[in-house]
Amino acid sequence: MDMIHAAKFIGAGLATIAFVGSGIGIGVVFGNYISGALRNPGAAQSQFTNLYIGYALCELQGLFGLLIALILMYT
């Protein structure tokens, strides 16, 4: 029984690795937005929506990892 508990905690910890990808993704999204916005400030405002869609999609992938960690720990 203890083994299962330990394995659950290890699994929950491993699931948080998902945030590595999420972090890289958000960095790419915002970095590219800023470099694009500095090159062409006129078009920056119109791409604001797309920026946050990209951000939201990237973040979600990390949050799925969090969800799995929560499921492992509390079920």
Binding site: Y52, E59, L60, L67
Partner: protein
């Protein structure tokens, strides 16, 4: 041992009500929902009581929030999307207000319950589906089949169907998990302060480090609180826009 960081998300009945085997107690969740709705309604009512051409501070705040959402809908869903302004505006203000109220120490974050976020999402997605069928009839299913050669469609249609079905989950999960993660993080940091502060000696001084971190994280949480309301509203707009225009033009 400090209290569990998850304790803050517990739904506790304040006034127990049981009807026909169902537990419909008035919980702290219901109380804070009432507080949020009441606060937003009160703000709007007070701000727009005297409507003057030169707005007062309160009135210009109300007008700014109106224009902010109206611009967002216009950008994401076009002129036609403005029909859904009341829905998007209500959802946006409700989520933003409940996220901000959740940051008050000792309060309850309504949006940290997946039941709440999923209900909001269901509202949006059902609106999208109903709108799509009213506007396009059976042609709404063209949403799953963009203009492409038949051999690409074989792969594309299942993908589009899966992505459509994943939307309610992703929309509700995003808000719920963000609120949950943020508040848990704050509580874990607060736990560090208590434990270090109680340890005595040099550790008491070290407690200042997580304390400072909490201040920074709270500022970050304010950003996230607004951002998640914005993201929820804008994704709702985009889904509505797809139902309105299918794949034709954007």
């Amino acid at each position: 041992m400090a209290a569990s960081p998850m304790e803050q998300f517990e739904v506790k009945p304040l006034i127990p009500i049981h009807v026909g085997g169902y537990d419909i107690s008035f919980t702290n969740q219901a109380l804070w929902m009432c507080v949020v709705v009441g606060a937003v309604s009160l703000f709007m009512a007070v701000a727009l009581r005297k409507r003057s051409v030169v707005p007062t501070r309160m009135q210009s705040m109300a007008e700014m929030s109106y224009e902010f959402v109206a611009n967002m809908i216009n950008m994401a869903a076009g002129e036609e999307g403005l029909k859904f302004f009341p829905l998007i505006f209500t959802v946006f203000l409700f989520i933003a207000a409940s996220n901000f109220f959740g940051l008050i120490p000792g309060s309850f974050t309504v949006t940290s319950q997946i039941a709440v976020t999923f209900t909001l999402t269901a509202l949006v997605i059902l609106t999208v589906i109903v709108t799509g069928f009213i506007r396009h009839g059976i042609g709404f299913f063209r949403l799953f089949a963009p203009d492409a050669p038949i051999y690409i469609l074989l792969f594309l249609v299942p993908l589009e169907v899966i992505s459509f079905c994943a939307r309610p989950m992703s929309l509700s999960m995003r808000l719920f998990a963000n609120m949950l993660a943020g508040h848990t993080m704050l509580k874990v940091m607060a736990g560090f302060v208590i434990t270090l502060g109680g340890a005595g000696g040099v550790y008491t001084l070290l407690a200042a480090a997580p304390e400072v971190l909490i201040v920074g994280l709270t500022a970050l949480e304010f950003l996230v609180a607004f951002l998640q309301a914005y993201v929820f509203a804008i994704l709702s707009c985009i889904y509505l826009s797809e139902a309105l225009h299918l794949h034709d033009n954007h």
